[in-house]
Symmetry: C2
Subunit: 571 residues, 2 copies
């Protein structure tokens, strides 16, 4: 492609609204253009990247045996009412009425539509398993669209839905092949990612992995082992009971005056003690009306409400106890609470089990206890997992220690089981002629988001750094003075023709711009391989070749540049 | 592709709601599946056809120099308010509010969005001309979605928008290259089509051609010359003044009693005269308040309101005169009107100019005149073009005679001129540094509709007949008893492997179905080339080869079948 026949539109500065590196760079490189909040046009340069991502996804989906179709963007309300999500789904589901006052929505996902199709098309176990996918525009009316295409309202998703006669087939013929295909896709795209065990969230069902591209700006935190493949969303990674025996109690229980100390930070500062010796109290509503449950954590640990919600006797959804209830039960306000004298159910985090001589609220405003010990000063609580893991915790698989990293979720595989197939009565006749509800899995990839995530992971002060697989162009030829120097033009045209003939996706930047502009743009655009052609080099029969990641270009004989670039592409 | 790894779902009978052949066949062949009124899923078989159409369009658009991008489906109201279409566009524009109560619409077309992008991106004549296109989901909230994907609400369109420094460039660099690309696209798809001159309708601007696929079920009527390339929508084709001199008046003006005769059909029957001797009167409002204009046509001719609306003195939009006004002016009701004694403006159709002794209303209820002659019985009217052309009319280009055919509009090229660029102030600096408004063209192809139109044009009692270019699979191998006969399986697998290796898009129908089902499906699905493999033939070393259009299959040596099919594909 010649630049003059294409459309390159770069900016020196990113618009002020862009905060994230990928958002800034996508706007500066002219990959996308905002049309409204959370709505983007993929400009010609960006669309080339998007299509390369799509093609890799499509190839690997087909290889896995999934069959492509194309469901509509607009979906009838009836199906969502049948699944129950018409009411349940929040405002992210954009609902509207057509001219006949019938209810519709813009599809944020397609479980209902595909399940409706499958229940009409598949009637026998002989037709199972089957995995359908499409690559299609989705819409979610985000309350705060941000970070460019990373969290846009309109976006492109690859979503697949597999249907099975039983759970074994779901795992064997659906979930695992999709998991493997996702690994191949993200490998081919050259992304640094991890599949992590994940919560299934509002979509329901059991069994789920997220595919997280590691990047400092990621919204998700991942815990992974330094000695095994273990990885999970930090909210989901369990902590283990500590081994060994409990430390000996050395101090006596002593009440100390701590005026206006309401937080762990204030307590640590006021008493000048290590935070690891403090304990914090969280009071939540119990399952029984008016009941409460006391949850204890080490002062520096982060409370995990997903874990707490699953404890016996705790009300779901998790609800913090009201201040009046707390005062009535403890005789003190939040910030001065503790287990001493509390007769209700107490859960304490595993991290508290082996310690002694804790500092804790005295159930009297402005007072704390030092030298608190379980068993001696209050009954032994039930020790459970109540907190988020931290770096250095033992890996739950028993191998190594956990590290934390931030990630951007680009894919997700779910075992939905019968959540939708039951609601929509998607049944089949098994080999005994008996009607059974299908088992179902769903598998999503954020196609447009991948582009942003890749940039977030791979950029420098000059711009984007693409892998060969995702780059809008694999190589760029930058001729200095193409319009005026016949020698440069001839050399550039020759190399362009040869690379094109060899099937390389090459851009000849024949724009009538200063050399500095062309060179800066080639770096901003992140094109992996660059050949610079100038009169000075040509006098000695050379051109310059550099990878985008090279700190310096190398001088290459002009008639060997193509061979060298082809060799670099193969390696 | 093996059928067992794909998804074939055919029906013996089409659902009752399908009236059109293409709609019936698309449902029976399992190309699409309805999700709601006017909303369809493209099933795997249909999607393969759609992608082939898309790819041919994309190749020819790229060849023409157009640059692909991707605009969003959801569009902000602001841009539509700026162009004035937010108010003007009818209920086909699906408007809705997002969670923040801001107005949006589902894009039925993208003039506003692209013009907004271009006014921000293009500032200099050096960046012009430029032609941007995308292939994208559109939505039009049709009052009566019907005929399957032929008139769906959600559909896929290729829309291109070109921008130019002046009108000459619009024609030379935009309109003509697009016209040519469209011809190449429809040629490659193997469609019998005509580019026809067309009205520009509500989109505005001047200069437009429709691309019509000829089919008896088409909603549009096309007039074309039997001796030249001339073709136009029947509403737009002009009629020419008749040559020669007027026939001599032989009869005297005579008033005859015609009780209850209110129509030309009744008049012709009552007086037992040829319809070609009658004249009908149409009364429309004039430009001046309360004024009327009398329009005269031959009794058998169809009134053309587009032509009438453009006449001097006639009110636009064209408005039929109210019955009270007619009675006040003529002293009679519609059905008994004529020019005798009428003092206002009279236009008569060219077809009336050379005739004599007409039968016409007498401006008295239940009475007509016979023997009416212009000039003698009423003043000479102004002779103009007032009617739709009919078969046998002279072609407007002076070459041959017109024929009529029905067509399905699959493409449209428009010279928009400055309609949108002016409203949105899309200006550029010319080579004198002076700001100028861009000239603009727009070019659409109904991608999903093409699939239906092709079927409408090419089908028989057994099913669809695809061209090689559009077929979901180019060839199908039908093995009789694939699961049980090892010889058949071996021969089928071998031919499948060889055709696949040769790059042929081949389907091996390995479904465990009776031979009759497989054969019928291959015809219903319209796959252009078929190889049938059975034990009986294999004993003599033969298989059967047939094109979809062949009435009988031919016996071919099994080891020559691949070569024969490849030769047929090349021819």
């Amino acid at each position: 492609m010649k630049a003059s026949q294409f459309f390159i539109s770069t900016l020196k500065e990113a618009p002020a609204e862009a905060a994230l590196a990928s958002h800034k760079l996508m706007l500066r490189a002219g990959l996308v253009k905002a049309n409204a909040s959370g709505l983007y046009t993929w400009m010609p340069m960006g669309l080339r990247v998007l299509r390369k991502v799509e093609n890799i996804i499509r190839e690997e989906m087909n290889r896995s045996g999934a069959v492509e179709l194309l469901m509509p963007v607009v979906q009838p309300a009836e199906l969502w009412q049948e699944s129950g999500r018409w009411e349940f789904y929040g405002k992210e589901l954009l609902r509207f009425k057509d001219r006949k006052d019938a209810d519709f929505c813009m599809g944020p996902t397609c479980e209902e539509v595909i399940t409706d199709i499958v229940r009409r098309e598949i009637t026998s176990y002989k037709q199972l398993p089957k995995n359908f996918y499409h690559i299609q525009t989705k819409f979610r009316d985000e309350v705060r669209p941000r970070f460019g295409v990373m969290r846009a309202r309109e976006f492109i998703m690859k979503d697949a839905y597999s249907f099975h006669a039983d759970y074994e087939s779901l795992v064997r013929d659906g979930y695992q092949p999709m998991y493997d295909a996702y690994c191949r896709i993200f490998d081919r795209l050259g992304l640094n990612y991890r599949p992590v065990a994940a919560d299934t969230g509002s979509i329901g069902g059991t069994g789920s992995h997220e595919f997280q591209v590691l990047a400092e700006s990621g919204e998700d935190v991942i815990a992974y082992s330094d000695a095994s493949d273990y990885a999970a969303n930090v909210e989901l990674a369990p902590t283990l009971p500590l081994s060994g025996s409990r430390a000996e109690a050395r101090a006596a229980l002593e009440k100390v005056h701590t005026p206006n100390v309401k937080t762990i930070a204030a307590l640590v500062e006021f008493l000048d003690i290590p935070v690891e010796t403090t304990m914090k109290s969280i009071v939540v509503e119990g399952e029984e009306e008016g009941g409460i449950v006391l949850l204890l954590l080490r002062g520096d640990h982060e409370f995990n409400d997903i874990k707490a919600e699953k404890l016996a006797g705790v009300k779901a959804p998790l609800t913090m106890a009201a201040p009046e209830l707390i005062r009535a039960q403890f005789g003190a306000d939040g910030g001065s609470l503790g287990p001493v004298g509390f007769a209700g159910k107490v859960y304490a985090d595993f991290a508290l089990e082996k310690g002694a001589d804790w500092v804790i609220g005295a159930n009297e405003d402005d007072y704390h206890f030092t030298g608190f010990n379980f068993g001696r000063d209050a009954v032994e609580p039930e020790f459970v997992d109540l907190r988020n893991v931290v770096e250095g915790d033992a890996s739950p698989d028993g191998k190594g220690r956990l590290k934390l990293a931030r990630g951007i979720e680009v894919g997700h595989v779910f075992q939905l089981r019968d959540k939708y197939s039951k609601a929509l009565n998607a049944s089949f006749l098994d080999n005994n002629g008996k009607a059974q509800i299908m088992e179902m899995g769903c598998y999503g990839i954020g196609v447009t988001r991948i582009v942003a995530a890749a940039i977030e992971q791979n950029n420098d002060e000059c711009g984007i750094i693409w892998t060969d697989a995702m780059a809008p162009f694999t190589a760029v030829i930058v001729p200095m003075n193409y319009k005026k120097s016949e020698a440069v033009k001839a050399a550039a045209d020759k190399i362009y023709a040869e690379l094109s003939a060899a099937g390389v996706d090459v851009l000849l930047d024949d724009r009538d711009e200063r050399a500095g502009v062309l060179l800066n743009d080639s770096e901003l655009l992140g094109i992996p391989h660059r050949i610079v052609i100038g009169d000075r080099g040509l006098k000695e029969g050379t051109v310059e070749y550099a990878r985008r990641t090279d700190s310096e270009a190398q001088s290459v004989a002009a008639d060997e540049a193509v061979a060298q670039l082809l060799a670099a592409l193969k390696s």
